[in-house]
Symmetry: C2
Subunit: 223 residues, 2 copies
């Protein structure tokens, strides 16, 4: 994330804990115990310190989550080798890379709702998307809007997918969608009634790439 590292003065009392240690421990807690267990108190005991010591190294919990995401992006995002030559493929490949890395973050929803998500590690991929779109004939402004549309679609897919997955592991809660779909009136909602039996199976399929292709095609085809 774009935040400058906390200024490290050479004078004064030597630090006992570091930003790196905080992030490393936070990563471990999330991996072993889940996002819900990542509290400032739990994190403090994890590094053998007190909650308030953390506030010397991160501004607040939101910054902590952002740092965690940036750490994840920096270690997971791999530039494609070799990069695709076709500009449309450059767009698709970059979007898919961002999507896959973010979808693998269990704590992504907390961050998605917490900041504008401009990880420096992801900038190269944003560049690929904007560059690819302009190479296909869009103006720079149109390409930025196109990138935004791709980002909306990507963020939405991750949000819906992740919360659905969480609800599934959330033990017993019944799926209310099924109740609604069971009581549909075929006269008023004929298509939904026909699709109802297959709805659960259809929505559990991973159609991110398919929808992305449609969106990119639509962005690149003048109408």
């Amino acid at each position: 994330m774009p935040r400058p590292p906390a200024p490290r003065k050479t004078t004064g009392r030597p630090a006992r804990i570091s930003r790196e240690e905080i992030i490393r421990t936070a990563r471990r807690i999330v991996a072993e115990e889940g996002v819900d267990r990542l509290t400032m108190r739990r994190l403090a005991t994890g590094i053998g310190s007190t909650p308030m010591a953390l506030y010397h190294h991160v501004r607040d919990k939101e910054e902590l989550l952002l740092l965690l995401l940036d750490d994840h992006a920096a270690r997971s995002l791999r530039r494609p080798e070799p990069p695709p030559t076709d500009p449309r493929d450059r767009v698709l490949t970059a979007a898919l890379a961002i999507h896959d890395v973010l979808a693998a973050c269990p704590w992504i929803v907390e961050v998605l709702t917490a900041d504008d998500l401009m990880s420096t590690s992801a900038l190269w991929f944003v560049e690929q998307i904007v560059a690819g779109l302009t190479a296909c004939g869009l103006t720079l402004d149109q390409a930025v809007h196109g990138y935004r549309a791709i980002w909306y679609y990507t963020a939405g897919e991750i949000l819906v997918r992740t919360t659905a997955a969480r609800r599934r592991t959330d033990d017993d809660r019944p799926v209310y969608r099924d109740q609604v779909f069971a009581g549909l009136d075929p006269a008023e909602l004929p298509h939904l009634s026909r699709a109802a039996p297959r709805w659960a199976a259809l929505t559990s399929q991973d159609t991110y790439e398919q929808g992305l292709r449609a969106l990119v095609n639509g962005l690149l085809t003048p109408h």
Copy 2:
């Protein structure tokens, strides 16, 4: 929402508070004081009762938020008069209606991340989208996937827009995106560097409909 109303027996002590009163009061609190102030305790004092009395009428806070959204959808969603005859316009009009109603909910993010969002009031609009897509030549399964893509795009746009707006009212927090964009290397990220000065202006524009048209066009054009 699909939850059946709490069974109202005719025997036993008469209820002092009702689901309707709970929702009405919750709506007022959100409108007057913001989503953050909507707590079970605040709500209880708002209707002159205790927190635990609420749990006789709603299962938990998640259900409360869902009921609140359904109430909002039921009173805000208006079917277009007359409905467009062109199937593509039916899709666009229905998606825009859903988008506009949800975007007007300040608490939408809390619900977006809380359930699969199958408000019964919205089903007619989902039907329009699926019906319109099939009328344009898609199979029913393709149309359901198309609806999902539209929903991802819509949810993502609302999520990003709403959290950005919240952050803006969140007083002083600097926009870190600006810091990143100020320090871009034009050699490595030429397009982003060129777009940087206009980025804030471009992303503040409302391009939901524009992106929606591109997505729907892409979904309807075989490639």
